[in-house]
């Protein structure tokens, strides 16, 4: 127990620094993924054949291969074509692109759940297609997507741990270097697991709160018509 305490005193600052980068990567990946996912889902639901094909290709490709694979293609593969990014950019790109594909599917599900009726109602008072999507369908679809979507931040936070394999100094990378110093890999990774657990727990609690305050009375996934 004393050893554990000393361990934390000695390495906590380092771990917190790593955790900070983990949180940053999560926030960046989530935001980029949200924008990508929104565009891809809109393209897949409302786009013409060509745009829809592009969106489907993007979504299926990134959901059909491991994140680590995507990370390596960007970090090791692209330089072969003369395209080079820094480690941090590679991590950001891989996480954002990967998360975007998953977020696109959450959003697509709720766009489809809104149904054609709302589009028709919007058009019937003279709104254009784009305006109806923006003012009528998206506000509803985004709220509807929250329960399913709220898995994504936690899932992405956990996913960020693989980027230590291209030496981005986030929490898992710190863990690796601490383990090398203490010669106690099991203890070290257990301690780091605790830090992850705390982050996941806090994030989850926050998302539940968001879910609660964004509710519209009488507006839920079930019990809605057309």
């Amino acid at each position: 127990m004393i050893a554990f305490y000393e361990f934390f005193v000695r390495f906590l600052p380092d771990m917190l620094k790593g955790a900070g980068i983990t949180v940053l990567l999560t926030a960046e990946g989530l935001s980029a993924g949200f924008i990508l996912g929104l565009l891809a889902s809109l393209a897949r639901v409302y786009g013409n054949k060509f745009v829809r094909g592009l969106a489907v290709g993007y979504i299926e490709l990134f959901r059909g291969t491991p994140l680590l694979m995507q990370l390596f293609i960007i970090y090791y593969g692209l330089p072969g074509l003369g395209i080079t990014f820094s480690r941090e950019w590679c991590a950001f790109l891989a996480l954002g692109l990967n998360s975007g594909a998953y977020q696109a599917e959450y959003l697509r599900g709720s766009l489809l759940a809104i149904g054609d009726g709302q589009m028709m109602a919007g058009r019937s008072i003279g709104m254009s297609r784009a305006k109806t999507i923006w003012y009528v369908i998206l506000p509803q679809a985004l709220r509807l997507a929250i329960p399913a979507w709220s898995n994504e931040p936690v899932s992405l936070l956990k996913s960020t741990a693989v980027v230590f394999l291209i030496a981005v100094p986030e929490l898992m990378a710190k863990a690796k270097s601490i383990a090398a110093q203490t010669y106690d890999p099991i203890g070290t990774y257990l301690a780091v697991a605790l830090v992850y657990l705390a982050m996941v727990y806090l994030l989850d609690a926050f998302l539940r709160w968001v879910e609660r305050v964004s509710r519209i009375p009488g507006f839920e996934m079930e019990g809605r018509k057309a």
Binding site: F72, I73, S159, M172, Y196
Partner: protein
């Protein structure tokens, strides 16, 4: 040249499939056990199962993989990286599979258990012959999703030095100085594997569907 590339990486593919085929059934067995404990166990067993699930699902798989790997390839137990990695992945997956099966067990509902007990079956018999056959069918669609996640997560054993697809791609890229091609082929193989897995499980789901289920 391209066919040489392929045949080199294909050897890693066998290992990727091997890891998945160990991890997935092992995770299923463990997950099923925990789901049954959580649903039908006593108060303490139920609580323990819940904690098991929360702990494993709250930590990144790669972190758990490292912890379990160091335990399973340590002084007490000493497994090869392939086995230590595969079983570790199986343990990680068991928590997710447990949640899938728990949902399915709940969906079958207590009425089926009551009906089975009413015709004189023991609890165990009822679970085995009445509840599980229904629950497992219900679990197939979400379980398919987990299967493709395990297939994709098998890439994590790269970090333990197991020569699966990614490791092979890395070696190939180093010897040929053609990184994009090497990793591109690896990605293509993954895509095909995931696609085939999804299709196969869709088929299984279709075949095992009960005619009365909507």
């Amino acid at each position: 040249m391209l066919s040489n590339f392929f045949s080199y990486i294909i050897q890693g593919t066998a290992i990727t499939i091997g890891v998945t085929l160990v991890a997935l059934p092992f995770g299923l067995l463990l997950g099923l056990l925990m789901a049954l404990v959580h649903t039908y166990g006593g108060k303490i067993a139920n609580r323990l199962a819940a904690i098991y699930s929360l702990l494993l699902r709250g930590v990144p798989p790669i972190v758990l993989l490292f912890i379990l790997y160091f335990i399973l390839s340590g002084k007490v137990v000493n497994l090869t990286p392939f086995w230590a990695g595969s079983l570790s992945l199986g343990i990680v997956s068991s928590a997710y599979q447990m949640e899938i099966l728990r949902g399915a067990l709940l969906a079958v509902g207590g009425g089926q258990m009551t009906a089975a007990r009413a015709i004189g079956m023991s609890r165990l018999q009822a679970i085995q012959t009445i509840v599980l056959p229904q629950a497992l069918r219900l679990a197939i669609p979400p379980w398919s999703n987990e299967a493709s996640i395990v297939l994709k997560d098998s890439s994590l054993v790269y970090a333990l030095g197991v020569p699966e697809i990614l490791r092979r791609a890395q070696q190939l890229s180093a010897t040929t100085q053609q990184p994009f091609l090497a990793y591109g082929i690896a990605a293509l193989i993954y895509f095909v594997l995931v696609f085939a897995t999804n299709r196969a499980l869709d088929y299984l789901s279709e075949r095992t569907k009960l005619p009365t289920h909507p």
